[in-house]
């Protein structure tokens, strides 16, 4: 679509094509992040969908930003917060006991059942450990350690002071390490699964 794209360079245009390009590029980031912020099951779909509806609405504010991820994460965290508020108002829906691991992502990797079980054990552990961090530390930890954003990017995404982010990340790392140690001390099998992953 030559017309649409030329126009897009001049000024933000909210066409489906522009939006779809953004979706294709960043869906994975949004999906992963939403899961790592602790959403499960159908709530992941709901929240990711809502994120992109908001993205579409705000697409005209996007071009000014340097990094798509920081802009997107700003939206993600608001949508997730809204979702949590809604759940608190309706405690009977969706906030129940943690569900089992979601194995769908493993299926495609062609692993044997054993490796798959170990991997799902690790994923479950990851989510549990992330769940032990409070929300502020959790998001900084996820963005830094799992998504590779720089501290400056995170500070921008959260609209927070760089030093605040740095100290939050430091604290999150220590808590995560301690929680990992506790978890593996309590469970030898888990420990060896982790060592397995470490050796690879």
């Amino acid at each position: 679509m030559p017309a649409g794209h030329d126009a897009a360079r001049l000024a933000p245009v909210r066409t489906w094509a522009d939006f779809d390009a953004l979706y294709r590029e960043h869906f994975r980031f949004v999906w992963r992040t939403v899961r790592r912020l602790g959403l499960q099951g159908a709530a992941i779909d709901d929240v990711v969908q809502e994120v992109f509806v908001v993205v579409h609405r705000r697409l005209d504010t996007f071009e000014e930003r340097a990094s798509a991820k920081t802009w997107l994460y700003g939206i993600v965290r608001r949508v997730v917060a809204d979702h949590r508020r809604t759940l608190r108002r309706k405690p009977d829906r969706g906030a129940g006991a943690p569900q089992g691991p979601e194995l769908d992502t493993m299926a495609a990797e062609g692993q044997g059942p054993e490796a798959c079980a170990e991997q799902s054990e690790r994923v479950r552990l990851l989510h549990r450990l992330l769940g032990e961090l409070d929300e502020d530390k959790r998001e900084v930890f996820v963005l830094s350690e799992l998504e590779g954003l720089t501290l400056a990017e995170i500070a921008q995404a959260l609209d927070a002071n760089l030093n605040t982010i740095a100290s939050r990340l430091r604290a999150a790392r220590r808590e995560f390490e301690e929680a990992l140690d506790r978890a593996t001390r309590a469970d030898e099998a888990l420990a060896s699964a982790i060592e397995e992953g470490r050796a690879r």
């Binding site: 679509m1 030559p2 017309a3 649409g4 126009a7 001049l10 000024a11 245009v13 909210r14 066409t15 489906w16 094509a17 779809d20 979706y23 869906f27 994975r28 999906w31 992963r32 899961r35 790592r36 779909d45 990711v48 969908q49 992109f52 509806v53 579409h56 005209d60 769908d104 992502t105 493993m106 299926a107 495609a108 991997q119 690790r122 994923v123 552990l125 990851l126 350690e145 799992l146 430091r170 790392r173 995560f176 390490e177 990992l180 140690d181 982790i194 992953g197 470490r198 690879r200």
Partner: protein
Amino acid sequence: MNDALNSRAGAFLRSVQDADDPTREDFERVRAGVKARLAAGVAAGVATLLTAKAATGAAATTTTAAATTVAATGAAIGVATASATVPPAAIATTGVGAALLTKLVAVVIVTGAVAGGVTAVVRHERAANVSPPSTSVAALPAVPKPPPPRPPTLAQSPPLAPSPAQTPSPPLAQSPTLPLAPSPPPALATATAAATTTPPASPPSSSSLDAEISLLRDARSALQGGNPSRALQLLDAHDRLYPAGALAEDCAAERVYAYCAMGDPTQARALAERFLAAHPASPHAASVRTSCVTF
């Protein structure tokens, strides 16, 4: 960095780095859901407009102007006869259903209602691989055979008279008051529902129309929400990007209302005069004439 994660935790994280990745199905399912919601959003926004305009009683009279297109006939009669409780846009959207909306964007524009009828343009865009849903046609009121493709308004006035903003290279050849004149009218069935549509005239047209609609819709809601300066920004953006766009006329009218709301009757009057000179037979003419400036 001496405060980095210890090697054990680092190795653990590396082993689960990509474990939360979505599958292809996740990607497609959410994308379809987003698309359906965006399409519904456009339809819902316009449905509100339709209802509001119809409620003024303007659409209750005979729908002469509504004959501009087959699609417009469907929309206008739907509004007029059904008392606007269930605008066709809403029917089309619900009829199609989220699951089937994967490749469909239904776009309804109301260009304005005046004592004489409603002029509407309904454009549908869809990609070739959509399986057509079946229910929505039945949900619409029976639409009489369309009148001849040439709308009556066409004979009376030059709808494409040069407006201040127009340039010789329109991305979309049609203007709202002259929607189908250059091309043969689509079959009735294609016009009555989003379900069975004609392919877009050309991809750039439909995507720029989509963008134009977004801008106009947002400008209207900004204005209705009491933010005329935001509305003007959006209208400026529209005119910059689509000086000869299909909705240039609608935006010009909206601009008059925005200056009225800004408390700038001088500017509103100047723009209204220019508008009426350029579009004497516009469906917006009457409301422009009776906006904050009275002629």
